[in-house]
C-alpha cells in the first residue's frame, strides 16, 4: 500500500507543478459560438472568454462578457439547497453591504448548478425570497455552460441521484475585464479581505 500512496502523491505533485503562465494569444473556446466576445478585446485569460449564453432571472440572454466594465462578485448555488446556498447568498449580501457607497459599482452574480429546476422564474423567486435588489443577476445556463464556468473558477460540484448538488462554497471576484482576481472558500468566512480587494479594484 505504501508504494501506491507514494505514487498518488507523486501524481499530485507532478500535476501541481504545472505552470499556467505562458504566452497567450487571444482566442475563444469555440469560435463558432457567441459573437460578443469574439471580436471585442477580451483579455486572453479572462473568464469572459466563455462564450456560452446564460439566461437571467428576467429572461434576458446574456454572455458573461456583458458584465464587463464593473468588477463582479460571483457565487455558484442552487435554489433547492436548504442550508449552504442561502448562507452563501447572505455572505454575498454582507459583502455588498460592506461596500457602502461603492455598492453600485459592482455586479453581484449568482449562477445556478441546477440546469433542470432553476429556470428564470425560479431564480426570480429566489431573488425575491432572499431580498436581492435589481442589481443582482441570477443566471441559468445549460449543463455545458455551467460545467465550463465551474472549471474556469476551479470549483467542484456534483449532482446526486435526487438532482441535488454537493458543491464548493466559493465566492470569486472578477475584475472589470473578467480576470479572476480573488477567491474565498467557506461559509461565514471573514470577508474583510474580499471587500478590500473589491475596493482596490475600484480605485
Amino acid at each position: 500500500m505504501k508504494k501506491y500512496n507514494f505514487l498518488f502523491f507523486a501524481v499530485i505533485l507532478f500535476v501541481g507543478c504545472n505552470n499556467v503562465n505562458t504566452t497567450a494569444v487571444s482566442n475563444n473556446l469555440d469560435e463558432g459560438k457567441g459573437s460578443v466576445a469574439k471580436n471585442s478585446a477580451v483579455a486572453p485569460e479572462s473568464i469572459f472568454n466563455l462564450t456560452d449564453t446564460f439566461q437571467t432571472q428576467k429572461k434576458n440572454n446574456i454572455v458573461l462578457a456583458s458584465l464587463s466594465g464593473k468588477p463582479t462578485v460571483v457565487g455558484m448555488i442552487f435554489t433547492n439547497c436548504g442550508y449552504a446556498c442561502p448562507h452563501l447568498t447572505a455572505d454575498m449580501k454582507n459583502i455588498a453591504a460592506k461596500l457602502k457607497g461603492n455598492r453600485e459599482k459592482v455586479n453581484f452574480a449568482l449562477v445556478s448548478f441546477d440546469t433542470d429546476r432553476d429556470n428564470p422564474e425560479q431564480l426570480q423567486k429566489f431573488a425575491s425570497m432572499m431580498d436581492l435588489d435589481k442589481d443582482w443577476i441570477l443566471l441559468h445556463g445549460n449543463e455545458q455552460a455551467v460545467r465550463t464556468l465551474s472549471v474556469l473558477l476551479n470549483l467542484q460540484f456534483d449532482k446526486d441521484a435526487e438532482g441535488n448538488f454537493s458543491h464548493s462554497n466559493l465566492i470569486s471576484v472578477l475584475d472589470k475585464n473578467g480576470m479572476l482576481v480573488y477567491q474565498k472558500e467557506g461559509l461565514d468566512a471573514d470577508h474583510v479581505e474580499t471587500v478590500e480587494k473589491i475596493n482596490e479594484l475600484l480605485k
Binding site: K3, F14, N18, T23, A84, V151, Q156, A161, D188
Partner: protein, 235 residues
C-alpha cells in the same frame, strides 16, 4: 462507437444522501483519441494550434510532444496511433463537440471502465489496474488497442492513459487536506458525510485523487480522452 448498457453507478465514496446514480445507455469510442485523429481537429480549428492556444484553455505543455503546430513529427511516427496526451479538458471537450460528440460523464466512464477484461488474466480488476499505475511509464506510449479489451468491447480503459471526463471536477472535497474536519463542514455543501463504499477499490480512490488534482487547462503526459454520445443524440 461501442454501446454501453446503462446501469447503476455507485461511486466509491458516498454520503448519506448519495444514492447510486442511474446511467442511461450510451455510446463510447472503442479506443482513446489518437495523435493522428487529434491532428485533424487542430488542422480544422486553428485556435487549437499549439502556438495560438489561449493559456486559459491549455497550459504551456499543450501538445508539447509534437514537432510543431501541425506536425506530429516523423521521429514520432511510433505514436501516430497512440492516445493523444498533453491535451487539456477544454481541448478534449472542444474536440468532442467538433465530432458532434461529447465527453463521457464520470459515472459513464467509471461504469464502462468497470467491465472486466476479455483477454487478459488477472487476480482482480483492482490488482490489474494498480499494477499499471505502479509501472514506470514507457519511453514511447504504446498504440491504442494494445492492452486489453473489456467485455463491452472497449479497449485500454485502464492500462494506457488516464482519461478526461466531462465532470472531472465533481469530487467535492476541501482543497486543502490540512484543514481540520471541523473547518471542512463549511467549505463544501453535503461533503461532511463522505464515506468510502468499497475500501478495496484503491484504484478508484487513486483516480478520484488524480482528477481532484486537475485543473481544466492542465496538459500532462499521461492524460488523454475518448468521446461519448447519447443514443438520443444520434437520432
Amino acid at each position: 462507437m461501442i454501446p454501453v448498457a446503462g446501469g447503476e453507478y455507485k461511486s466509491f465514496y458516498v454520503s448519506k444522501t448519495n444514492k447510486p446514480l442511474k446511467v442511461a445507455p450510451f455510446l463510447l469510442e472503442e479506443y482513446a483519441v489518437t495523435n493522428l485523429e487529434f491532428l485533424e481537429f487542430v488542422k480544422a480549428n486553428p485556435q487549437w494550434q499549439r502556438s495560438r492556444v489561449n493559456a486559459l484553455f491549455a497550459d504551456k505543455n499543450y501538445l508539447k510532444h509534437w514537432e510543431s503546430d501541425l506536425d506530429i513529427g516523423l521521429s514520432n511516427k511510433k505514436i501516430y496511433n497512440s492516445p493523444v496526451v498533453y491535451v487539456s479538458w477544454f481541448a478534449a471537450k472542444s474536440y468532442s463537440e467538433w465530432k458532434h460528440r461529447r465527453l463521457p460523464t464520470l459515472a459513464e466512464w467509471e461504469l464502462a471502465g468497470s467491465a472486466p477484461p476479455e483477454n487478459v488474466n488477472y487476480a482482480s480488476m483492482t490488482s490489474y489496474i494498480l499494477n499499471w499505475y505502479e509501472k514506470e511509464s514507457l519511453p514511447v506510449l504504446p498504440n491504442v488497442k494494445t492492452t486489453y479489451r473489456n467485455t463491452y468491447g472497449l479497449y485500454d480503459m485502464h492500462g494506457l492513459v488516464w482519461e478526461w471526463v466531462f465532470d472531472f471536477n465533481s469530487f467535492v472535497s476541501s482543497g486543502d487536506s490540512r484543514n481540520t474536519s471541523d473547518d471542512n463542514n463549511n467549505l463544501f455543501c453535503a461533503g461532511a458525510a463522505i464515506n468510502v463504499t468499497n475500501r478495496d477499490d484503491y484504484a478508484a480512490f487513486l483516480r478520484y485523487g488524480f482528477r481532484r488534482s486537475l485543473k481544466g487547462n492542465y496538459c500532462i503526459s499521461s492524460l488523454g480522452f475518448r468521446c461519448a454520445e447519447g443514443f438520443t443524440q444520434r437520432r
